[in-house]
Subunit: 338 residues, 4 copies
């Protein structure tokens, strides 16, 4: 594949991308690639729903079978934004077909399955695989990481993460809150600190009466990285008031946090303030754009991916598994199986 890509780059040809999954996320990716990412061409979209695939394809080829897209010789690189349950098999197929792959998290439903994916694709295949932890490309998180490196607040001692949404999926379980939402913190915390998570604990605040049975919401999770720093992660899927992601890094001489992203301030009806996004897509739209550009640039040039790797994804899944173990053991402090 690298040969193909290099050839394309040499003749100035775009990376020809196929997008699997034409739900909100896949359609957004196709649109962003088409409008704002240089060096990419969306040549195919696959979705089990043909109409949805066609709409997202916007004139490019529409498939109902992901594997047909993967096997399309005009597809250089694949974005996997399909249902979580099929990520693993699609990743394996695409990598085996020699395609560069950007797979939305999670790589696989469980850590064991994720490990199996890596065994299936081998080391060479692993180099083709990137994972979509877009917060690494959010300019706020990037600035926090740079400032940590610069010593702006001294050595970190504590990180406070908060992730709140308007309403979770109707069938979300307590475990899904961990693997589907908190997993972003499990990736971003070690990335910020450049230190792996080694130990976790799960704590249940009072559960909101507004959520269905089977879901503890909010949840509080503690992460201990190898450097000794403690990170707290509050995840509240049904916080109602807005989509609100916060991160504060407390260091030995100061503290810094993500600024609330807002373009305008409004004075109306006895209130002064800013608005929240209703979900993560507008909040991280710019991060997705920058991530996709970075991915396409790396694919085109044959450079190693600057995105989260498969190993990063496994590390986050290992943390999630330890957190769920803690959840099922009354919040006992639990080691991460690295």
């Amino acid at each position: 594949m690298v040969d193909l890509i290099e050839a394309a780059a040499a003749v100035g040809r775009s990376v020809r991308v196929g997008v699997i999954g034409a739900g909100n996320m896949g359609a957004d990716h196709a649109n962003t690639l088409r409008r704002f990412v240089r060096g990419a061409e969306v040549v195919a979209v696959a979705d089990v729903d043909r109409a949805r695939a066609a709409a997202a394809a916007s004139g490019a080829r529409a498939y109902t079978d992901a594997h047909a897209l993967i096997d399309d010789p005009d597809v250089d690189a694949v974005v996997i934004a399909s249902h979580d349950s099929v990520h693993a098999e699609q990743v394996v197929a695409a990598v085996r077909a020699g395609k560069a792959v950007l797979c939305e998290k999670p790589l696989a439903p469980t850590l064991a399955e994720g490990r199996q994916v890596l065994r299936d694709i081998g080391d060479d295949g692993e180099a083709l695989l990137s994972l979509g932890f877009m917060r690494r490309f959010d300019q706020g998180y990037v600035a926090l990481r740079q400032a940590i490196d610069d010593g702006t607040v001294g050595a970190p001692v504590l990180i406070h993460n908060i992730s709140r949404g308007v309403s979770g999926a109707p069938n979300a379980t307590s475990e899904f809150s961990v693997t589907g939402s908190s997993i972003h913190e499990f990736d971003v915390v070690p990335w910020l600190l450049r230190s792996p998570v080694v130990e976790v604990a799960w704590i249940a605040p009072r559960c909101s009466s507004q959520v269905h049975a089977g879901l503890q919401d909010p949840q509080l999770i503690h992460l201990r990285t190898a450097d000794g720093v403690l990170s707290t992660c509050e995840t509240f899927l049904n916080a109602r008031y807005g989509y609100d992601v916060r991160c504060e890094v407390v260091g030995e001489t100061g503290a810094m946090s993500l600024a609330e992203p807002a373009r305008v301030r409004l004075d109306a009806e006895l209130r002064h303030g800013i608005g929240y996004a209703a979900d993560w897509r507008p909040r991280f739209a710019d991060a997705y754009r920058i991530e996709l550009q970075a991915w396409v640039d790396a694919v085109a040039s044959g450079a190693p991916t600057p995105l989260a790797t498969a190993r990063d994804g496994l590390a986050a899944s290992a943390v999630a598994e330890a957190v769920i173990a803690s959840m099922h053991a009354d919040g006992r402090t639990t080691k991460v199986a690295l």
Copy 2:
């Protein structure tokens, strides 16, 4: 009177205050004096409405005749919070009776009448008179003034003032907007800069369609102080969204402004923010308390008033008169008759 006060101070006796006017302002003052100002006792309240006077008196004497209160030998000091139209005569009567007086602005409806008050009470009487420009005791304005003195932002070049309310009085005229509202800026700007206003201009933005005939709202006023600094004053009585007073001092090396006063931040319904007061009373409640304490302390000790003086009030009225002249002359730049 000074003898009386000194005698009171010597025996540790409170200053016995009579409050004229039991509308919102007068009732607030009586309540603040009674609950939060040390060294004061509210011994009488006067209002043309006996029930209102009695309610505000809360057990103290209630008068319907302001002059009976003024003549009450148990009253050492008088707060005048009656209708603007009777301030002048009540001030003269109270000062002639040897009472210390705190008169809410304005001292008199016109500059000429204000000057007449000063002639009527003479220099000795003037020492008994304080005017209620409470912004001088707001901790934000006090901090701005201190920072100007400290050179925190370098020498001032420009001040931007904004004063917006929810809704003006139903019969407010364009002239009233100047004499009843902008006059606070006419006092606070020269107090901040320690330099008198020498020249003004009046400018009409587009008038809100939500106001009645006879009122230009908002208005924009320019003040030039003797030091050359330009101050802009936007006054918008019917801004609808909240009571919002702002002041920004722009200096040669930096700028500083009043922080929005707020005790809590609220996240609700896709908004993050703080609340506005519906009118000036909660916004300046603390300033009123500190002003009343400063007044009572000065009355008790016989010290010169730390409040705005009658001269300060005349200066503000002279500015208002010049602004109204500019309003009636198409916004022509107009000198202040000092």
Copy 3:
């Protein structure tokens, strides 16, 4: 004593206050009482350092012996702001002398000693005793509590508290961080929620390299109240950057938090922002004033204290004891002995 106070109230006489301890806190209290609290007179100050006592007394009687102040028949009520180690015996002496007492926290070094104080003074004596948990009078906390009662953010599920200072006492231990600083959260959380703390856990973030041996700093503490709400409390005595107290109440439909207290915003040197206090005294100066006024009003009228009671103080000490037990047991979740 109630007779005395009622008599004083009847003749309009001030509550005659004696202040024990003329360090920063005691001197501040004496000054606040003297300048801003109506109905109080500072008649005596005691300090082991005579010069300090005399300076704080400002003309009133200066004692070096706290018990002489307590026994002074001209003293109606006593503020205890002496060294923590002598609070208990001074409280007992003052209450036995029939004086109303406002004792700065802590009532006693240990929970057992605190309980002994209550046994020593009996139920009648208990009615004379108030504890100085001033956050209950901070207008931000008051607004949060009112908003909880009003259901502004729905039923609370989680409270996040942060308390950071510039630098702790040079000899502060990990235990002192709990009993001397976090204890404010142990009082304010059950007061906000109207529900007692029943269970706690103590967690150590990475310790700042800038602190001396024997002190874990920062610390993270979890409180579980009887209503099931979880409260997190970060205490960081040596956070360096400023004195910063935060409280966020997360409810089922929204969240709200203390607004940063600031009077001005400054633009200078490529930064926009507000300033922090260097310690708690300016941050809570207004809360102290309101607390002292509320105390004096209650003493004067014979009403039950609106301040924290001795029972509230014992409850906070019981939480502290459980937290320290957790600290010494590797962070084990620990029940509070109520």
Copy 4:
């Protein structure tokens, strides 16, 4: 040229862009086009300084003669970021050569010269010309305009603009402050309101002592649009503290303003706050990217430009001319010659 472009679009070929001027602005544009704008290829850069041209060209052709670049048959479209004094002639040459042109403001040094450019290029040529008023693509301004259209704050009555920089060019004159800086407001105000500026006035605050002779700094400018709305524009080239652009739209029922752009908040050294950019480039980097993408998209598709047109540029220049006339006539209110 449209044929060329359409042909390129048909074969999916990129728009081949030549950049004239390799100073900060031109080099930024070349870099942005090369890294973040899809559908564009930088094929040539021209600068009088060959080394600078070569550096910005990054492998593409480097010219020292702008006209050689314009005449290069491989150049489809030209970005003019050269010295202001040569914009006019380069625009005429490029348009006559059938190239699409994006010219940084100003089109010409004077309104008369700008008009001459339009006569020289004719109506057909005018369709090839876009002007670089990037604020129209800043997401904050875009949100303000959308909100005005949506009636979020009711009909506008007043707009307050503030534009402050760290330090102006060493040879900046009072007139340059108008034509080089305030001109952005002269474009953005009528664009926000969809109403032309018809009348202006110029006012001098106290001049900063930190600026050289020949420059009044800050300046205050009033714009009256045909809809009656008044807009104030403070321009302060040497405000020292940071690059700070503000815009507040005051409507009949509310107000809204640009939020301070910031990605992180910092707590350090007794301050809480955000940082300012040192100049306009980081502040508007995203606006430039979006503007360039919109321009390239329109060039590629043959659609009318969504950027400011030559007519918009002339309108802004006419306002500038009126403002300078007011400056030279003691601030007299001056009609704009449309």
